[in-house]
């Protein structure tokens, strides 16, 4: 099929080369070039082209962006803008019909992103219900996710943190919600497929790792076809992941040499650092950021990266906060992290979040963009044509 209806001329670029050229263009140009001709409109809107365009974009660090949600606005930072002396974010116009991001006080906004799409959850703390939306910030398109029909009543079950990932086997973006039914302690997982636009529920095998661990994570991490949760297994830290293609849970072993409990020098009691670790991403790899040390006065934060096995990447000073690694500079020296600070207000602790850049070579830390915010959430995304 000739992709272009050309005037009679000697030199016409063949279809596959046109596709090659177009796959190198930014999304903004491609959305405009949908108006060139019907054939170009069909090509640019096609799933296959979105896939090949994404494959190219994901290899190009310049196509990565960071989205920051605060309590009153959304900002976008391009990769080139990060790791500079003065970091500026561009405000992003968000107006989702029927999905107010800054509506009420008892509603939290949670994010998960993968392969060019961002999944936003509005969690109502009072009613214990959630609404979801999938958004492509590059094409500015979004879809509200319908409520699952078979979810049990929120009073009889407890949902763990949702995850969002890409299934390579079916070329599909999926959203997952693991939950537990009381009082029977049965665990299940709901899966939403963006491709078929339907929900399904899977029962998890009694022997499976998921059934003896408690996924506590404040945010899930997607990496290479699987969604990861930090969990507790019989009181010890554990990492469980859900393989989207197999639809099974597995356990990832904790790096052996990392102590998760530290002896308090004076009392001799054990101080668990299990609350002070987070999973994130470093380049293409899963990254574990964990507070550890020989004693309570001698703590540090270690960054471990999962390649074939856990490899220690760096050790940085512990400054009383928990850090989630989000992305790394081209030369591997600087890491963008989301920092959680707990401020004690009376007898309760309130969490504040901010973005920081850690320099791994000289151990300096710079705050970027905005002041610590009780509702700051951030996610990275790559420019893509999925969802137009």
């Amino acid at each position: 099929m000739r992709i272009c209806k050309a005037r009679r001329r000697s030199f016409t670029i063949p279809n596959d080369l046109i596709e090659d050229i177009l796959s190198r263009l930014p999304v903004k140009s491609l959305m405009r070039f949908k108006c060139v001709s019907k054939a170009w409109h069909t090509l640019i809107s096609s799933r296959q082209f979105a896939k090949s365009h994404f494959q190219r974009a994901s290899q190009n660090p310049s196509c990565m962006n960071v989205l920051v949600f605060t309590d009153n606005r959304v900002l976008s930072l391009g990769y080139e803008a990060l790791f500079q002396t003065c970091v500026h974010g561009q405000p992003v116009d968000v107006d989702f019909q029927g999905f107010p991001l800054w509506g009420e006080e008892y509603v939290e906004t949670n994010l998960a992103s993968c392969n060019g799409l961002v999944c936003i959850e509005l969690y109502n703390r009072r009613k214990r219900t959630s609404e979801y939306l999938v958004w492509n910030p590059s094409t500015k398109s979004y879809k509200n996710i319908p409520r699952p029909t078979s979810t049990p009543d929120s009073k009889s079950c407890w949902f763990y943190r949702f995850g969002f990932g890409y299934d390579y086997s079916t070329d599909d973006h999926k959203m997952v919600r693991p939950y537990q039914i009381f009082p029977f302690d049965i665990k299940r997982i709901e899966i939403f497929s963006l491709k078929t636009f339907t929900w399904k529920t899977i029962l998890v095998d009694v022997d499976n790792i998921y059934n003896c661990s408690l996924p506590l994570t404040p945010k899930t991490t997607y990496c290479n076809g699987a969604i990861y949760w930090s969990a507790l297994k019989y009181g010890k830290p554990s990492i469980i992941y859900f393989d989207l293609a197999e639809e099974l849970f597995h356990e990832l072993p904790w790096p052996e040499s990392v102590l998760y409990c530290v002896r308090d020098g004076s009392s001799g009691k054990c101080f668990y650092t299990t609350g002070l670790w987070e999973l994130g991403i470093f380049g293409e790899h899963l990254c574990l950021s964990v507070c550890t040390g020989e004693s309570r006065k001698n703590l540090c934060v270690q960054l471990w990266v999962m390649k074939e096995s856990w490899t220690r990447l760096a050790t940085i000073p512990y400054l009383g906060t928990c850090l989630r690694p989000m992305c790394v500079s081209k030369n591997g020296e600087k890491v963008l992290m989301r920092e959680t600070q707990v401020k004690c207000v009376g007898i309760t602790g309130e969490c504040y979040y901010k973005l920081v850049e850690w320099n791994l070579t000289d151990h300096t830390c710079t705050s970027i963009l905005c002041d610590p915010n009780p509702r700051m959430e951030a996610a990275t995304y790559v420019e893509s044509l999925y969802l137009q």
Binding site: T12, M31, K34, C35, V36, H41
Partner: protein, 126 residues
């Protein structure tokens, strides 16, 4: 490089018009590429130089030549150059460049332009 293919290309009657462009641009590329392979910045400068000396429409001929000769590095280079050249251009410019005509029904095109109005912001003047 495949010299027999090159000879065949030059002998082929249809391609008489491109021989000049190929001789001056495509053939020296392997040497240039080998010399500056490791250095991305030099390659970028060479790309800018090429864009200045070669009319955008000539790039089409260069792409076809590189494709015919199965010269992957040159093809990648030229495709990247074309992409950079058309990235911020208007729909009309791109149509002229590729020799295309609009085949939308009347009104259909306006509807699309309106739907993606944001993507038309900041586009280069023709």
């Amino acid at each position: 490089m495949k010299f027999c293919t090159v000879k065949q290309y030059f002998d082929d009657e249809n391609n008489n018009n491109v021989t000049n462009g190929i001789a001056t641009t495509v053939i020296p590329l392997p040497n240039k590429h080998l010399k500056i392979k490791a250095n991305n910045k030099e390659m970028e400068q060479y790309e800018q130089e090429l864009l200045r000396n070669v009319m955008p429409q000539e790039l089409t001929k260069l792409i076809l030549a590189a494709n015919y000769l199965n010269f992957k590095e040159a093809l990648d280079f030229f495709c990247r150059t074309v992409a950079n050249a058309i990235q911020n251009k208007s729909v009309d410019y791109v149509r002229k460049f590729f020799g295309l005509e609009s085949d939308f029904e009347p009104g259909e095109e306006e509807k699309l332009c309106k739907e993606f109005a944001w993507s038309f912001e900041g586009v280069d003047e023709d």
